[in-house]
Symmetry: C2
DNA sequence: AAAATTATTTAGTTTTGCCTAAATATAAGT
DNA sequence: ACTTATATTTAGGCAAAACTAAATAATTTT
């Protein structure tokens, strides 16, 4: 048996394990809005359960079982988000909180049927890849942040780095949604802000925004 | 704020409050598979929160706020069951457990959109009425248990008293599903078992089964 | 009406998941 | 290298939601 809380910790460790080094206590505390001491407690428990490799003062990383659980939660989160947007007409900035709850519903049958009902989607409403039944993520697209794209190279918006409601609403307003084609026309020396071409128009965006938009390089 | 546990208690009190008298401690303990002492603890808390009227040794009943919460949970439970059966092709005996979890997802927007997505259904897969947004149940059908129907009176199956998987699977196998027309041909003196006409055939069922099948009398 | 049975409450305990405050380890600055 | 700052752990505590065992109230039987 597994609690929702344990699942959220495993998901957080997965999210914060970038290269191959794990996640630090403080990074987890920050990510989960908790105190560091609570993290230490839980890491010990997760280690006892055999889901996490934990050494004092050296942070935590997922072992095989833990990673499978984390990816299963991520899969459920992204499938539910897809359901909420595609079937219930929620906007992409409204679904995270609800999926945060739905991801903990226990029923393998439910996940698989939901997956089929949605047409086995490969990406969620924020462009994040959805792991398959075997917890595998396949995303072969060449990706880059918009802030790092060369001048006059046409790229396609495929995701966001941070999916906070603020950013998503801003992008929505400027019609910078998934699938749109963009060219960077100019990068201003002064503040690194970008002038881009999109939807047949021109538009200025800040470096900060560009750093949070993921694009596919053809 | 409200916990899932509190919600389950309120729902149980609602389910066990038949006429106007509330639910007893032991009845609740039995219904929720808990010990009586746990019930007493929670009834005090729910009373403090103003959702339940509780007097020592006299059981508990819902007050206005408590009833609204209970009906909201029932609404969500039945809408999710409808979703699982109508959209994800679950069988009617497979959905209760999952709905027991889904009913606690917090988002008014979600419930309303789900309701619309399902076409504002009025009954769930077991024939139970679904409360509307204002927590009102309207079910004007004349109902009776099949065990009390007079000989040769044609009735329609509209629900079950107990929706355990065992009963549901039995009914499924005999094709005694919602909407079917039935006539009671004979009641055997010996064991009160019934001979009924259904689907153009004749069939014997026990008194026990008949006591758990709800029918509409035209 | 008294005794026996059943229902309910009280008292005390456990586990989970969080917290604060204090202690200690690690990393950074001079 | 020594001092300061930051990160992490330890110790102790708290609230929620369950439990067991014992006490008491209510109901039923004789
Ligand atoms: Mn979550
Ligand atoms: Mn997402
Ligand atoms: Mn429930
Ligand atoms: Mn039902």
């Amino acid at each position: 048996m597994r609690t929702s809380s344990e699942e959220d910790y495993l998901k957080a460790i997965y999210a914060l394990s970038n290269n191959s080094d794990g996640a630090s206590t403080n990074a987890l505390a920050n990510h989960l809005n908790m105190k560091a001491s609570s993290i230490t407690d839980m890491l010990k428990k997760l280690s006892d359960k055999g889901w996490v490799h934990y050494e004092k003062y050296k942070g935590a990383s997922l072992n095989i079982d833990g990673k499978a659980i984390a990816l299963n939660i991520v899969r459920k989160h992204r499938l539910w988000e897809t359901f909420l947007v595609n079937k219930l007409n929620f906007k992409w900035d409204e679904v995270h909180e609800i999926a945060e709850q739905l991801e903990h519903i226990k029923s393998n049958e439910l996940v698989d049927r939901l997956d089929d009902f949605l047409g086995n989607p490969t990406f969620d409403p924020h462009g994040d890849p959805i792991p398959n039944k075997d917890h595998e993520i396949t995303d072969s697209r060449k990706r880059s942040y918009l802030s790092e794209v060369k001048i006059n190279r046409e790229v396609i918006i495929i995701g966001v780095k941070d999916s906070s409601a603020q950013l998503l609403q801003y992008l929505e307003k400027e019609n910078m949604v998934l699938g749109k084609h963009i060219s960077v026309l100019e990068i201003h020396d002064f503040d690194k802000s970008l002038r881009i071409a999109i939807n047949g128009k021109e538009l200025n965006i800040s470096e900060r925004v560009a750093q949070n938009v993921l694009v596919q390089i053809n």
